[in-house]
Amino acid sequence: MAIRVSLAHRMQRHRPTRYLVSQGWTFALPGLLIILAITIFPVLYSIFVSFNHVAITSSGFKLSWVGVRNYRTIFSNSLYQYSLVFTVIYTVVTVLVELILGMGVALVLNALSRGRGFMLALLLLPWSLVTVISAEMWSYIYNGVYGVLNAILMGVGLLNHPVTWLGTPILAIISMMVADIWKTTPFVAIILLAGLQMIAGDLYEAADIDGASAGYKFWRITVPLLRPTIALSVLFRVLQAFGLFDLPFVLTGGGPGHATESLALLGYQVMFQDLNMGRGAAIAASTTLIVLLASLVVLRVFRAQVEEGAS
């Protein structure tokens, strides 16, 4: 996402680059070392475990190397394949909807002259609910016998008998998406809002003087300048959505049938319920690889567009 000409190119004239390089490392290293110290061993260990059969013995884990057998087992399993497809579709749909809604919310808030702080606080409430609890809340709202959603829809005459929102596959998936979108649209909106605030106001003033339409300003000023921020929010939402766990864990237990069994839920079940560490680690590692590839694609796509826009 390095769109700007790097400082290095400009600074070369004033100061030796070596000074800036060493300063760069001085600033970057503390943070990077903290990350490394805590995460490198668990991540590498987990990847290593995914190539092993793990037996839990009285003296700890006993690993025996099995090569790619865990991966072969999971890839050829129809439950894994379904989970993968489900997670991908779920991610694409929720992230798209959240991006559109989040952009709308950000634009509205950005145009707001008073009460923006209040609205921000309000928007953050869904996001700051513990996911398990927000799932309990939705489970209570969706309940097919005493849920308030049925009461409201029946009250206004849209339904004449209660619907079991989480009882059939398609409805359960949609209901889960709604709960997710409610909780995470604020995340997208707040990142986008921060991006909007970084756009200099005089660009719009100049466009106003030229008599530009609102649509023109949005597509020609806002979107191009916001692209790195959009990419960032999409990127992190894709990463989060791909890890979908708490909602199906509480709302449906992966059901009805297997309909909402996400990759993370499958991994959790294999690892902690079946105690099959090797296969669980393989599911986790393969998920990471897939989502990493997806995020690189996101970055590439957005960068290409940014470069087009700039030229």
């Binding site: 839990i56 016998v145 005493y146 209660p162 237990g253 049938g257």
Partner: protein, 431 residues
Amino acid sequence: MKKTVLAMVSGLAIVLAGCGQSQATAPVAKKTAGPVTIVWTASPIAGLGVRKTLISLFEKSHPNIKVKLITAPTSTNTDKAALTTQISSGSATPDVYMGDVIWPAQFAHAHLALDLSHHLPSSFWSRFAPGLVQGASYKGQVYGAPFYMDSGFLYYRKDLLAKAHLPVPKTWAQLVSDSETLQKDGLVKYGFVWQGNTYEGLTCDWMEYMTDAGGTVLNAAGTKAAIDSPASLKALTFMRSLITSHVSPAAVTTFEEPQAMAVFDAGKSAFLRNWDYAWANSNSPTDSKVVGKVGVAPLPTFSASNYPGHSTIGGWNIYVNPHSQHIPQDLTFIKWITGTQAQTVLATKFSEIPTNYAVQKNPAVRKVNPVLATVSHVRLVARPSNTPIYPKVSQAIYSNINAALNGSVSPSVALKTTQTQINQAISQNGL
């Protein structure tokens, strides 16, 4: 391999600790006189008071042992995840922990629970009600001490049955016709609520219908699935018919115990399948609108001559962490908590079903409530949990049965898929 891993961990740990800090290896067991503290992890049982009451009684009679209680999450799956993470990495705490009755095989296989039969005399096990010790065993060794037991019961609205002059149903067909009568008369909204969500509880409910119909999950040797049978089809078709005939609400396929209980407590259902706790719950004025109107009986079955129907065994065992540094004290605690005093308190004060057979049969205990009086008439069935792959087996059952219940697949297809998935799990190829 294990050594390499340990070396990696400790190497990293030294770096992290800023070098020089002495390594926290297993502390040398000091033979000091003071009291020993053991850590007991247990999820809340029927409210908050039980565990603390038991601990204070235990400490009074055992001044040299202190018990530190760690409250575990109420979700059994979450509880299990935390315990396995801690114990599999070699942690010495908790010393003793409360765990589900379906854990022994898996926990024995993964060395997460101490082989108790190695440490306790065989005479110790004779105190328990029949079948419980077998359920806590794996390959002939006992891994858990039964702490309190549970089973499925039929709760009914005695006021409604009396009003309509109906008997307490002994067959499923009778339950359906009772329900339909009560519903038609406008006395109640739903006939029967139970647990149909995709989770372990559906496996419990399923075991009851399937066993009543004469089916089993595995073949006699436990080597192959036997669930795809005419008996299972009869059971599943009946369960689905409960929903299509509106005796049970469609939402029952999303119900776990709390949802079914809430519908019954609100006076919206004539019958409820639930565990022991439902008696106290439905008779608590702060929780329920049907206080004093509830009766309890063994579950119905398919033909009256086989009454009563089967009830799935539930409940909790006490396990010992194999890495515990205080195994003698752990065993003392186990002996005491399954003994007469503790078990009587458990039953009379907190209306849990005791595992101690003498206490269970004690007339004073039976008088506590109708559930404890009914226990001895119940015909128990255990889930096929004597294999380490039981979680896979159960998942195959509950997810496919749920799919049939909500109508996304036919009962026969659901049973075929269950059969395939269980066989896959047995051959270690399933997910």
